[in-house]
């Protein structure tokens, strides 16, 4: 069983459109392979909008805790505010002696809980989000929704991937396609851990190139093999050429160029992977990229 993780660094380069196309091609393409899909962008999970799955299971995900101060027991000494490094304890201007907890700033570290001389503080676990198991047209989908403004997205990503892996092992799936989050931080590290191959979707813009370098440094840091494909490749051909040269120098293979085409958006609006929606140049490019990614997965990793 192999894990393919799709990353980008910069957001909005087309990770989810590529992942949805791969889900379709894995199920119905030239060389089908039984695959499980995992949406590891738990902040803003969009794969379900294209795959339109039927939800089978919903599970709560409990994240960190926040401090709650009991005004009956609080003597207003201010020790909690002194030890808090997250500016989460706020004394109001009013004559109220008990401070307020800014539950959004609160990190759940419990430093105040342990230092309060009157034991007026308790730590309360928070429902941070939910994760789901669903059935899509192209196979099982694991996805999640972090509640607004919650922490621990990395842990929720790990949960989604673990569940996908367990089902893959139980039912003999050969591939997990992971649609990753943008950036290079905690949720990306969780999404990429254990990957057999990372496909980086970039775009020929100064920002795309800058962030491609950052995400390649990250995959190198964790020793993960990576391939690159360039979306909207005809938008700025000079940058497309520069990405090609940069990747050659670094020994990273560029496995395809996807042209800029509003068909991608039209397919998204219809709730279809672009490869299922049209047979145009975008779909052709994605089929070729898929074949090259599958070849790399079976040779390497």
């Amino acid at each position: 069983m192999k894990q393919l993780v799709i990353l980008s660094g910069k957001g909005g380069t087309g990770k989810t459109s590529v992942a949805a196309a791969f889900a379709h091609l894995a199920a119905e393409g030239n060389c089908p392979i039984p695959a499980i899909l995992a949406d590891a962008d738990v902040d803003a999970s969009n794969l379900e909008l294209v795959l339109r799955p039927a939800m089978l299971q919903t599970h709560d995900f409990v994240g960190g805790s926040v401090a709650i101060i009991d005004p009956e027991m609080c003597e207003g000494c201010g020790t909690c505010a002194e030890v808090c490094r997250f500016d989460a304890i706020i004394f109001a201007d009013t004559d109220q002696k008990t401070p307020q907890v800014d539950t959004i700033a609160c990190d759940g570290c419990a430093a105040c809980f342990y230092q309060c001389p009157t034991q007026a503080i308790k730590m309360e676990p928070q429902l941070a989000g939910q994760w789901f198991r669903s059935n899509s047209r192209y196979g099982p989908l694991f996805h999640a929704a972090l509640r607004p403004a919650q922490e621990n997205s990395g842990k929720l990503v790990t949960m989604v991937k673990q569940q996908a892996r367990l089902l893959a092992l139980d039912d003999g799936y050969e591939l997990i396609i992971v649609d990753g989050p943008p950036g290079i931080g905690c949720p990306v590290i969780s999404a990429a851990s254990g990957a057999d191959l990372v496909l980086i979707v970039t775009e020929p813009t100064v920002a795309g190139v800058h962030d491609l370098e950052r995400v390649l440094q990250t995959t190198e840091h964790f020793g993960l093999p990576a391939l690159v494909c360039i979306n909207k490749a005809d938008l700025y051909p000079e940058a497309t050429a520069a990405i090609g040269a940069f990747c050659r120098k670094r020994g990273i293979e560029v496995v395809g160029h996807i042209p800029f085409d509003t068909t991608v958006t039209q397919a998204m609006i219809q709730g279809m992977p672009v490869t299922a929606f049209s047979d145009g140049s975008v779909a052709d490019a994605l089929r070729q990229i898929w074949m090259r990614v599958m070849a790399a997965l079976s040779n390497g990793g």
């Binding site: 980008s8 910069k10 570290c109 943008p182």
Partner: protein
């Protein structure tokens, strides 16, 4: 006035809006803070000359083996499993530590001191247009973006007396501070927009854009900050974003059409107002509308 530019979905044009808004105002009294420390891009459009730089991170525990009695109190109070007693040793896991200091405070032998674990840098400097610029850059391989954003916002920048710490009074000299937020809706985004006077949400009229706009509106409502929407690549998709904004009573403050020449210019690192100078007026209108909304909210 602190205006945060955020989006939920990535690649909708946050940096385009943040930089061109700054360039359309009284530039010498405007600062841009790039809070996307994982994938910072605003400098590509503003070309700053960095004159100040600091390493930032969190304070992690260092245990003095001579004084430690292996009692395990540190591991017991740590909520993040970042410190553990293994046999005759104490192990610290810096990548799990949040730097809260609770182990140090609770150690009965005072065997713990703290040292800076560098997660990234913050740097600042002027740009040719007069806009002052500061950003954070996370070290590759580090998981935690929030402490870098927190330090960036707390940074006292000389000449402007600019502490952005949300607990301090607003005594800075900058007329406008524009915060370019990272994508998503979780902790780094919240840290970036927390304390702002207004949040401009940049979206595109597609199902992904709408889905993530909805989530971000919930975040901003939870933070109780006035909010408005900028629709980028207007015309690429459908009318659902407009419908949602009308139903949710969200003002659509500005529209930037889908236009290949704008996309190509931005790809080359040109600010929108350099590609289309007439947008300077549109961004000034945007600023006036934001001021009106903020003033109304304060009443």
């Amino acid at each position: 006035m602190r205006i945060a530019v955020a989006s939920g979905k990535g690649g909708t044009g946050k940096t385009t809006v943040a930089t061109s808004l700054a360039l359309s105002l009284d530039t010498t009294r405007t600062m841009v803070l790039d809070c996307d420390v994982e994938a910072p891009n605003a400098h590509l459009f503003l070309n700053p000359t960095f004159e100040r730089r600091e390493e930032v991170g969190i304070l992690i525990p260092q245990v003095d083996g001579g004084r430690c009695s292996l009692c395990g109190r540190c591991a017991e109070v740590c909520q993040f499993h970042a410190i553990a007693v293994i046999g005759q040793n104490i192990l610290v896991f810096p990548e799990l530590c949040h730097g809260c200091g609770s182990c140090t405070l609770n150690c009965p032998e005072q065997a713990i001191s703290e040292q800076l674990d560098v997660l990234g840098i913050i740097e600042a400097g002027p740009t040719p247009t007069g806009v002052y610029f500061a950003r954070g850059v996370m070290k590759v391989g580090e998981p935690m973006a929030v402490p870098i954003i927190r330090e960036l916002k707390r940074w006292d920048i000389e000449g402007g007396a600019t502490s952005l710490s949300r607990q301090q009074d607003e005594t800075y000299d900058w007329e406008t501070i524009i915060l370019d937020a990272p994508p998503g809706t979780s902790c780094p985004v919240v840290e970036s927009v927390h304390g702002a006077d207004f949040v401009a949400l940049v979206t595109e009229p597609t199902p992904f854009g709408l889905h993530d706009l909805r989530l971000m509106v919930e975040v901003v409502h939870e933070l109780d900050i006035p909010v408005g929407v900028v629709i980028n690549r207007d015309g690429i998709g459908d009318a659902e974003v407009d419908k949602f904004c009308a139903e949710a009573d969200l003002p659509v403050l500005m529209r930037i059409p889908l236009d290949r020449s704008i996309g190509a210019g931005i790809a080359q690192g040109k600010p929108l107002v350099a590609i289309r100078p007439e947008y300077t007026d549109h961004f000034r209108d945007l600023y006036r509308r934001i001021l009106d909304i903020v003033q109304e909210a304060e009443l």
